[in-house]
Subunit: 284 residues, 4 copies
Amino acid sequence: MNTSVLRISCPDQPGLVAAVSSWVAGVGGNIVHAEQHTDRHDGMFFQRVEFTHGDMVGADSLRAGFAAVAANWAMDFTLEPLPWRPRTAVLCSRQLHCAADLLSRTTYGDLGLDIVGVVSNHADAQQLATSFGHTFFHVPVEGGDTGRAEQENTLSTILDSLQVDLVVLARYMLVLPGDLVRRWSGRMINIHHSFLPAFVGANPYRQAHDRGVKVIGATAHYVTEELDEGPIIAQDVARVTHRDDVEELTRIGRDLETVVLARAVRAHVEHRVLAWNNRTVVFG
Amino acid sequence: MNTSVLRISCPDQPGLVAAVSSWVAGVGGNIVHAEQHTDRHDGMFFQRVEFTHGDMVGADSLRAGFAAVAANWAMDFTLEPLPWRPRTAVLCSRQLHCAADLLSRTTYGDLGLDIVGVVSNHADAQQLATSFGHTFFHVPVEGGDTGRAEQENTLSTILDSLQVDLVVLARYMLVLPGDLVRRWSGRMINIHHSFLPAFVGANPYRQAHDRGVKVIGATAHYVTEELDEGPIIAQDVARVTHRDDVEELTRIGRDLETVVLARAVRAHVEHRVLAWNNRTVVFG
Amino acid sequence: MNTSVLRISCPDQPGLVAAVSSWVAGVGGNIVHAEQHTDRHDGMFFQRVEFTHGDMVGADSLRAGFAAVAANWAMDFTLEPLPWRPRTAVLCSRQLHCAADLLSRTTYGDLGLDIVGVVSNHADAQQLATSFGHTFFHVPVEGGDTGRAEQENTLSTILDSLQVDLVVLARYMLVLPGDLVRRWSGRMINIHHSFLPAFVGANPYRQAHDRGVKVIGATAHYVTEELDEGPIIAQDVARVTHRDDVEELTRIGRDLETVVLARAVRAHVEHRVLAWNNRTVVFG
Amino acid sequence: MNTSVLRISCPDQPGLVAAVSSWVAGVGGNIVHAEQHTDRHDGMFFQRVEFTHGDMVGADSLRAGFAAVAANWAMDFTLEPLPWRPRTAVLCSRQLHCAADLLSRTTYGDLGLDIVGVVSNHADAQQLATSFGHTFFHVPVEGGDTGRAEQENTLSTILDSLQVDLVVLARYMLVLPGDLVRRWSGRMINIHHSFLPAFVGANPYRQAHDRGVKVIGATAHYVTEELDEGPIIAQDVARVTHRDDVEELTRIGRDLETVVLARAVRAHVEHRVLAWNNRTVVFG
């Protein structure tokens, strides 16, 4: 038996659940997990249906079959096989805890990724990448604006040549150009080291310390052109006290960042995220 | 439009979701919230379907109609109207924080209960009950075992005469007799002041202190004949340190107990709990 | 034996702890709890010393005695008796969960306050206040700006006439005038229904929903002239999902607000808070 | 300047803080962090004092100097230099997430350890250890009881020959013999994959699932001869639901285990833990 995941969003109306489940039954499928969400304020319906079906039926043929249902009900949908091992590029800079964690989780099977490259504007991650058996791409910024544009081109070329499905910004500290962000829309996840929307921009732990907050956080989100404004996939927080200086906040934050980023990446890989209106539905 | 909630448990098999959603569509209903859970280990299927339907269709007629579907698929089911305001008895002893919280929440609309009586083996709660406009029943234990049996009879008679739908043990410190527990099976919720199954029995905060734990908790569960062993509905925890003596653990614990008990009661009132095999499915 | 609490802030230098503890020993005191904090970034030293001493020594005489030590080391200090039952005014508007919680906690001894009045711009809290045996002051805003100024004058007169030590804004929804805020500086605590500095201003739960955050929070802070910018005393957070609409966020938030406000008030009453540079040191 | 840490435990009495701080001042030291705890129930006093002092004064001479103070007040004490990089052995079996995390943290400076060896009864960790540049010791159990005794002897010999200061059981799944445990008393930290004292022994995630708990946890503790009964250093918890089967609990638990173990190890390395009466004081 194979497993597929159908994700749907459409205006809410009576009969949607019946229409979908009847279609699944009609193709000989068995729903093993289904979750729906109705946003009453916006009048929208969202559903994720995970179903098993015969080996001989491929995703393409299922997609073609469901298209008629979708047309009838004005649905946007995706239909993907599960498990899915996306070809993933990990981008990082000098802080390596998130990258190390992703590589480590992938190695012992906690994350179902195929890491096809580790890319950084600094050389620091080279040893990490190679010790885990991954190819390392050093793409430094050299010179001023020209160097920056060149670096972005090189980066873009690398991602293309690797045929990447998913880009993970694991504390990659350069802002990416708009066209690159647009091309990877919905397929590029960043970890921001604060509880967004508090403390956007640089040095969030310094900002948090100066405001005297008693809780700090980390936020994983899809990257959009507005810096730190993309749809939030996962967040977590930790309680802190006056005793925690910026250095200690940074240390506590590292544990948040690694866990939150991994949680977001896992949700994406399992086709559990549906972004809509700059928010996400994250199915359980 | 009216709203009803259907809860189902049965052995898992293909077609269940389609069968249920087709039936709902067939009676002119619109599913506004549905959640299913498949326990693959035990091969069981659980579902909660909240749907709106015409005013003229009552719960009894819906129940009768669904019975045929249920028979076909070997389903256990309940079908209840929503909102439901259960006639509720609050039982307490000397610690009044949970009772006070329930009365307060009910007053400002946070909990949709009709409190029909506050019952205690001590007189302490009298003022609290009357200040919120509720009838207070003082049912003390007088004398030894005989007194205890009499007290239990009186209590049982009160619950019957009040036509109670739900009994909440809000830090009621007497163990109830087996026949009373059995009669209120699935309709009696207790708050235990520890993170069960750690620290069953008396003085859990003293036990927690002596073991030197760094986290304490509270547990709301349906009452069964095995003390502190019933199906858990809700739990929460708080971090503590060596600085927290038994008195401080008790104080921190009070906040956990009130919030956890209220959360469990709300889930019950909203028909979101399904107990099976001494565990619960708590729908979102 | 009596207990006093000494709180100190001063530039850090060697010998401070020895100077203070020697002075305590010199007046026959026994330190039962001491905690210090050094902010290395700002070069500041903070300490709270709780000590027992003979019945015959009053706070005034201790203060006079310690003044010489303080002068030697450029210390700011306060010295207060413990327990301290501040004369407290609770201000609220239409949302009564925080006020109800404070009254309830005070009644069963969880908070060591003397509530001398419940004040509101709406009549809704009247029954709550009187059922707990407290005086209720209804101070509505009538008419436009003139009415507002009058209301503020009346409020100020009430607080003065009650000889209030502490003002708790328990979801009081009117902004207070600058002179009132200045007069109660460090003695007025507000609960804001968001994880500040995220979502300042009105309708934070709506803001949180629209941003799609996965965690919401509540913040208790001393009131300053800059709205929502005062020193934070306590914060807490809860995880939420896409399923939680604004109404549900509001409900979850209520539990956060009550617990966070009570925590902040308790810390204040136990002389455990020291505000400095728009941040707080909250001793354990 | 050098830094030293003094940890004290003794029966509580007036004058202790003054005695200690005066001694520090007397040796030209400056207290940079001090925290004390009085256990009123047991009448015990605990203190940790971190102080800077001249380069020329060694820990041995400070210890000798303080011994006189300690004798006067019946103190147990330790005095250690900071930072301290203990020679650490990491023991693991087949589950490698904790070991990988410790190695990773050590590499990027999050934990101040010198890992002198990775030891396992299985070969699985070999690649991990060597990719991080550490020596791997494969110490399998061969045959029955004889093999087990041999294995324990080999393990003991390795720890001795490596001159290990700290043994970390990073999901090492064999019970260690009593004499080995006694020899490493207070210097051997284990991670247990439950919220102790709930679910001692084998398969705690299976136990947690079958009991239907809504929160799972992890516990780091010093190892004692009573299995899972040693002094708890750190615990943390995560909320779970009925949807989380044993596999998912195990996955969620991995994140708890790594973070809790790292937290406990850091506290130990920074001389912040003081075990007494099978509990710990963990200074901030």
